[in-house]
């Protein structure tokens, strides 16, 4: 801030030497004590940091070697060396100054420098926030021209509309801040107030004054009634929003449980549970949408069911077939016509869905609900909204964790920013402190010693080991994928065989055999990551983050290939020719398959929690006699969650109630995992970069998972023929035709909308639109990456500027002191002469 600091040494304030220029009543005593001491000349009490400055000058020679020898810091070391040399030159010139005490005038100026007063005393905070509210108010106004600023103004602030600060008394500054606050919108004002680093009492005082002024302005002036109404509406909306937030908080979904987990394990393990909570909300949203628009209308208007429904046996819960196959759970239940409430015949209202052509003319109003259209649009809109929410949270998370500037201050960050304040259990705190210690020692070793150059032989050996590990992983993944492919083919042939040969003897066994494929896939998902862990242990990575990323990459590769081959099996084999295996309704069959997969995944996760965590802990404690419990593998568990969510998204089209199943599964999983973690595990020993990992996970949720599911669903809707005897799209060539037919019908009924119909046919059906859209998207991404590059360069320039400013500061302090000494010296000589006599 370009503050007019008065360098006039004859200024009465300087001479008096008793008051401090700013009101030091703030949160702490900062310099008032020191100034008071100094001005009363109470002995050799030097200013603390000025003493340090002196000591630093003495130690400069010793430090030079240390600065220059650290490897990655050569550039900065050179600069430091240059600075030291310059400082030494200055030192020889100003040597006599260093022995003197800094005068109270210098001290006073030092104490009121902006860098010392940030966040410390009230006056500085108030003026800082006055400037900010001014900026906020002026946001839409243009910036003042550069020529209005003095040449000596710092370049970085020229464009920001900063007014030159006058040395007003604090009271008027406060009034102006209150004035500004009053003129802001309500949400801006609340945001400003909350972000101020002042005491709550002072903030509420400012708020009270601002509201008082607002009330006065409102009652005094003649405001048109519509803006007053707008004001009341806004206040009402805000109140209801706050009460809604209160209600949400009072629900306290898992607040206590999450606090216990974070208190014991820290932020890393907590992120897994928070991810689970996020997925729960996604599924809740899906469930509400599909429930309200698809399930409920159809449940209220049940269709005429075919005869021969099997009775309820327990197996249905596992296979999802049998009793459930003709229920509202699956695609086949949904009717393909417009649901109507028929008119009263005998005074009773019968809710029956009518067949296609007939129309009952009722005198009274009737509600009609076009089921196929509703089905199509609900799925489309649900996916679209989920996509938007995912992309938004992904970009927000990315923005928080991405750092443009490559971090040089690893050690400082480790010391000052790595303590997790959420951890409250004594043993965990001790563990965390040990972890930080170990990491600091490792970092010191890294920073101190030079990078050991590996010999060519060693590098070749490492390359071989990595190559071997990767080939093992890829080979095992390919083997499993082929196994699934052939096994599914075998099941398919089996079903074909079963249809040709009438085998009604063991229907239960037939149904149970449907579980074989899900069991195989879940087994593969359980065992193969263990193999990947073994290979990673064999490879012995130096950097833990590289190890985590490699492990995530391998697991992802496995899951993507498994899901790929399964989608081919369902959409490519089963859907292509459903009659061969005797399916009247292939969509219901696929829905049942997905239900089975989801359930098996849950059961196997339970088994894994039991065996992997509980029994392993008992084994390692009793048999291996280790003191440490097993570590909770966060990455692997999150990937399991993502896999389950992909299945849920794939299945929504075929099984509208699948989100409900997923919700139940996630709820149970939360409690089971929480108890298992509390009993069996300990916090990870390696450093875990939470925000980076969270970004990676939500990106994985968006890109392979959601994108893959939506591509499959889009392909199904676009190209695959729906079954002709069940479901809301029977009789159409593709599911997409439902929307097209509706548009055509609308055009027929109302010729004015033909423009819309034509636009629809051009935009949605023409692939050129997609290409152009993708091209624009890529161009936008390219521009943004260029902007990021430019900002990186600006950061480098600004850092150099800061270093220069530091040198300016030192120069000015010494000059000031020199001038003051020159003025004082004649007077002092007189005083000393007098005292000698």
């Amino acid at each position: 801030m370009a503050r007019n600091v008065n360098f006039d040494l004859n200024h009465p304030l300087m001479e008096a030497g008793l008051e401090s220029p700013v009101d030091e009543e703030g949160v702490h005593d900062s310099f008032s004590q020191l100034i008071a001491e100094q001005s009363q000349n109470r002995g050799p009490s030097d200013a603390f940091e000025l003493q340090q400055l002196q000591r630093q000058l003495d130690e400069e020679d010793r430090d030079n070697v240390a600065y220059l020898s650290s490897p990655g810091r050569e550039f900065r070391g050179r600069r430091q060396g240059q600075r030291d040399n310059e400082w030494e030159d200055d030192e020889t010139q100003t040597d006599p100054l260093m022995g003197e005490r800094w005068s109270s005038a210098t001290m006073r100026i030092l104490s009121s420098m902006p860098s010392r007063t940030i966040g410390r005393n009230r006056g500085a905070i108030i003026s800082q926030y006055y400037n900010r509210t001014m900026q906020l108010r002026r946001r839409r106004q243009s910036r003042p021209a550069i020529r209005d600023f003095a040449h000596s103004a710092r370049p970085s602030i020229r464009g920001y509309g900063m007014e030159v600060d006058s040395t007003d008394a604090e009271a008027s500054k406060r009034d102006r801040l209150v004035n500004n606050l009053q003129n802001l919108s309500v949400s801006d004002r609340v945001r400003m107030l909350r972000a101020m680093p002042l005491n709550v009492a002072e903030k509420s005082e400012l708020r009270r004054l601002a509201l008082q002024k607002e009330k006065r302005t409102f009652s005094g002036s003649q405001i048109p009634c519509c803006s007053q109404l707008k004001y009341y509406i806004i206040i009402g909306v805000r109140q209801s929003w706050y009460s809604w937030l209160s209600f949400l908080h009072s629900l306290q979904l898992w607040q206590v449980a999450l606090k216990r987990v974070s208190g014991r394990f820290g932020t890393g393990v907590l992120s897994y549970f928070l991810f689970l909570k996020t997925l729960l909300f996604f599924n809740l949203f899906l469930f509400l949408v599909t429930g309200a628009f698809m399930v409920l209308p159809q449940a209220v208007h049940p269709p005429v069911l075919p005869a021969g429904i099997s009775s309820f046996t327990g197996l249905e819960l596992l296979t999802g077939a049998g009793y459930f196959s003709d229920s509202v759970m699956y695609y086949g239940y949904y009717s393909n016509d417009t649901l109507r409430k028929s008119c009263a015949d005998d005074g009773e209202v019968q809710n029956v869905s009518l067949s296609n052509g007939t129309r009952l003319d009722c005198g009274s109003k009737h509600l009609s609900y076009n089921m196929p259209l509703a089905y199509f649009f609900t799925i489309g809109v649900a996916f679209f909204v989920t996509c938007i929410i995912l992309v938004y949270s992904m970009s927000k998370s990315f923005g928080q964790s991405f750092r443009i500037d490559k971090s040089h201050s690893i050690l400082a960050i480790k010391v000052l920013c790595s303590w997790d304040f959420k951890v409250i259990k004594k043993t965990s705190v001790k563990l965390m402190s040990e972890n930080i210690c170990t990491q600091l020692k490792e970092l010191l070793a890294e920073v101190n010693h030079k990078q050991v150059n590996k010999t060519r032989c060693q590098r070749l050996w490492r390359l071989m080991v990595h190559g071997l590990a990767w080939s093992i992983c890829i080979a095992s993944t390919t083997a499993c994928v082929l196994a699934i492919y052939y096994f599914s083919d075998h099941m398919y042939q089996n079903l074909k065989h079963l249809r040709s040969v009438v085998l009604r003897k063991t229907p239960v066994l037939n149904e149970a055999s449907l579980l074989a494929l899900p069991v195989l896939v879940s087994l593969i998902n359980l065992l193969l990551p263990g193999l990947f862990n073994l290979t990673a242990w064999m490879e012995d990575y130096e950097s833990p983050s590289v190890r985590t990323y490699v492990s995530i990459g391998r697991n992802l590769m496995l899951k993507v290939s498994v899901l790929g081959v399964l989608c081919y099996h369902w959409l490519g084999r089963v859907a292509a020719d459903p009659k061969i295996i005797g399916l009247k309704c292939w969509e219901s069959f696929v829905g049942q398959e997905l239900y089975r997969f989801l359930l098996m995944d849950f059961i196997f996760t339970l088994l894994d929690t039991l065996f992997g965590e509980f029994l392993w802990r008992l084994f390692s404690e009793k048999a291996l006699k280790r003191r440490r419990k097993p570590v909770f593998d966060i990455a692997r568990n999150v990937l399991e969650l993502i896999y389950g969510q992909t299945l849920a998204w794939l299945g929504v089209l075929f099984t509208p109630l699948l989100p409900a199943v997923q919700i139940l599964k996630l709820l149970l999983l939360f409690y089971i995992k929480k108890s298992s973690v509390m009993m069996n595990c300990q916090a990870p020993r390696k450093p875990y970069r939470v925000s980076q990992m969270t970004t990676v996970f939500i990106t994985l949720l968006c890109f392979p998972s959601f994108l893959g599911a939506s591509v499959c669903v889009t392909y199904t809707m676009w190209s695959i023929t729906p079954s002709s005897s069940c479901g809301p799209f029977r009789g159409l060539k593709t599911m997409f035709q439902a929307g097209k037919r509706w548009v055509e019908k609308m055009e027929k009924d109302n010729p004015n909308l033909s423009v819309l119909a034509r636009a629809h046919s051009y935009l949605v059906e023409n692939p050129l639109f997609l290409f152009v859209g993708a091209g624009i998207f890529l161009i936008v991404i390219y521009f943004h990456s260029q902007v990021v590059d430019g900002q990186r360069k600006i950061i480098g320039l600004l850092q150099e500027q800061i270093e220069n400013e530091g040198e300016d500061k030192k120069f000015l302090i010494t000059r000031l002191q020199k001038i003051h000494e020159q003025k004082r010296t004649p007077a002092r000589r007189l005083v000393s002469q007098n005292s000698n006599c």
């Binding site: 949160v27 702490h28 900062s30 340090q52 630093q56 600065y67 650290s70 430091q80 860098s115 010392r116 007063t117 966040g119 410390r120 609340v190 909350r194 972000a195 680093p197 005491n199 709550v200 509420s204 708020r207 009270r208 009460s243 908080h249 009072s250 606090k259 974070s262 932020t267 928080q400 964790s401 750092r403 971090s407 201050s409 690893i410 050690l411 400082a412 960050i413 480790k414 010391v415 000052l416 920013c417 790595s418 303590w419 304040f421 959420k422 951890v423 409250i424 705190v429 402190s433 930080i436 210690c437 600091l440 020692k441 010191l444 101190n448 970069r689 850092q799 270093e803 400013e805 040198e807």
Partner: protein
């Protein structure tokens, strides 16, 4: 809303809601927590803003702060007198600044104040040493401590005065994406 509570007036609760990151229910819950630290000292009725301060020794018995190595500094930073005696306003202030929705800037200012042990608006080598000792509880040797302090100040110091001013600290924190999630106390 519907509940009749006599701890605060509506005006007070609204002021708290606008000036902190808590909702009404949370403010009332915080008052309950504050009161259970010293039930004989803290009155139930806060409508006339009584001037009561709970001493440091009682505040640090809270489970959220008990094991934190910086508990004394945290409480001192938010106390008005600088000795750790918190009034209810200070108490709410403390947990509001450390809560999840508190913005980065606010947390940076208070983190700087907490780590500045001698309160001279700079984190000097001595401050770093004390921070490090509290973090590692004496596990590092004195040479290692000195080395870590020197190196970290050298890394983060931009204007070359071999101590961290607030802008140095802010710059360093902006490069640490985990700072926001770490500097968070759940109440």
């Amino acid at each position: 809303m519907g509940n009749k509570q006599t701890t605060f007036t509506d005006e007070q609760l609204e002021a708290f809601q606008d000036c902190t990151f808590f909702t009404r229910k949370e403010i009332l819950r915080l008052h309950g927590r504050y009161r259970e630290l010293a039930p004989h000292l803290v009155p139930l009725d806060y409508t006339n803003n009584p001037d009561i301060k709970v001493p440091l020794a009682l505040i640090v018995t809270m489970p959220e702060l008990k094991e934190n190595p910086f508990r004394d500094r945290i409480v001192e930073t938010f106390s008005e007198d600088g000795h750790g005696n918190l009034s209810f306003n200070d108490f709410v202030d403390m947990f509001s600044a450390l809560c999840e929705t508190s913005p980065r800037e606010l947390k940076t200012i208070y983190a700087f104040k907490i780590y500045d042990f001698n309160r001279d608006s700079f984190i000097c080598k001595d401050d770093m040493k004390r921070t490090l000792n509290k973090l590692t509880k004496g596990e590092l040797t004195p040479e290692e401590v000195t080395l870590v302090c020197d190196k970290s100040i050298e890394e983060a110091d931009l204007d070359g005065d071999s101590k961290l001013s607030f802008s140095d600290f802010e710059n360093m924190v902006s490069k640490a994406p985990d700072f926001l999630s770490n500097f968070h106390v759940r109440i």
